[in-house]
Symmetry: C2
Subunit: 302 residues, 2 copies
Amino acid sequence: MQPVRTFSDLVSRLSSQGRRLRVAVINAADESTVTALCKAIDKGFARGILVGTQPNEALKACLSPYSEHITYLPAADEDEAARMAVELVRNEEADILMKGLLHTDNLLRAVLDKQHGLLPPGRVLSHITVAELPDFPRLLFITDVAVIPQPTDEQREWQVRYIDALCRNFGISAPRIGLVHFTEKVSPKFPLTLHYRALAEASAQGAWGATIIDGPLDVRTCLDPEALRAKGIRSPLRGYADALVFPDLESGNSFYKTITFFAHATVAGILQGTTAPVVLTSRGDDARSKFLSLATAAISLN
Amino acid sequence: MQPVRTFSDLVSRLSSQGRRLRVAVINAADESTVTALCKAIDKGFARGILVGTQPNEALKACLSPYSEHITYLPAADEDEAARMAVELVRNEEADILMKGLLHTDNLLRAVLDKQHGLLPPGRVLSHITVAELPDFPRLLFITDVAVIPQPTDEQREWQVRYIDALCRNFGISAPRIGLVHFTEKVSPKFPLTLHYRALAEASAQGAWGATIIDGPLDVRTCLDPEALRAKGIRSPLRGYADALVFPDLESGNSFYKTITFFAHATVAGILQGTTAPVVLTSRGDDARSKFLSLATAAISLN
């Protein structure tokens, strides 16, 4: 099977699989969430369970062509809607959880609830962004631009595991994962470089299967074979990383904001670590980004 | 005086000033350094003192049209060349120090030498990058992508001072400086945000003259008025920052590598804190980047 290398590939792949996943949407009351859901239904890979606040008349008109794939479940308030949607996922009555118009804190409270939530004990919550960039020939997987401020070694190992798995869901049989730092030097002054080295060595010894992990490398030596040559550095990634693991949230977020603002990237994002994929986009995200996040959530169940 | 808003403006400004600055180049033995120097001489804002290794025949031919603006000063080795060039600057026989073909460590040893170097006691060494980006209407000033891994509050205050001064050298009479963090929330969990808030308040009270400082803001809320609106945030920068101060080297370097690789930025860079500007470009930089760094060094003496 060919790997999925563009968002257009991704949508085609999901359409051709002919499997509708059940998406529990909490408060589907904003235009971009409803538009994203309609498009996913239209492309044949989703059905919607709309929990909580009902769409207004304008949005209902937008949903009406898809009524056979939509059910409604009213709730008393935001908190109840979040709890009910999480419960649907726990009971395997929904495959994907999606945020609509509610405060992120309220959604996270329901997702992270120790008794009734979606994060198994001992699992680390993190986030992956998938980006499509003009003039760049493949999708780029990035972690973590949203959740863990300063990952411990253990948290980082989970991040690598998650991004490796998501790359494989996209059909990349030997994912190339770059561990980002501002130089290529391993030094005890920057303890994360020691962990990077350990991960790279484990991968060289086959502990990660066909996955190739290397670092420390900077953003360019991960992605740009010419930069690698100019610096005279050897790396088993050879400048063709599929995925970047950032050292901390400051650098991950700065990368994310920069590719969306200066390089016109199109992005999708999902939470990691939960028992089912959670689409948790932010206010600024448009319908396309929410749709692609839903598509990413769907393929992560492959 | 109009502010300098593009690199082309910068070169015109320097040419029109009609002042040749004396550039001490250590080991001018590589093509990009020699080309950069020739162009600066050609544009009328430099003369060269070539210390150490002499250019080979091909490079000498390239220099020959400019012989009246060039002097040669042989040295026994790299270390001696670096020491001699630094000495020229200390004796006010040169205005700018420029790295040619030698190890950065050797140059830095001479520059940072406590007795015979260029960094006064108590001064903080840092670095500023100036970037020109397609579709972005002004030059962007960035610190620090190269020197201080994790600035203390005191070091950060120096960084703000340096970047404020350089913006003014470029003719920006009220520089707008954004202090970058991954969210806009001030929180004791991230102590740098408390310092950001203190700097923003001092600037609001006029302690920084006409300079406007604000933060914490993310890369987009610094630079993109629409992102600011979408997030519902108020900022005296109003999304029009001239300068970004990054929280640490990981995020600064990731920003730098990303704009050069994905957004086709043209960049210049100089060290800060030294008694004279030091042009310290890296192996990967081309002649244009070295020339623009020299131009940035020259205008920093305005």
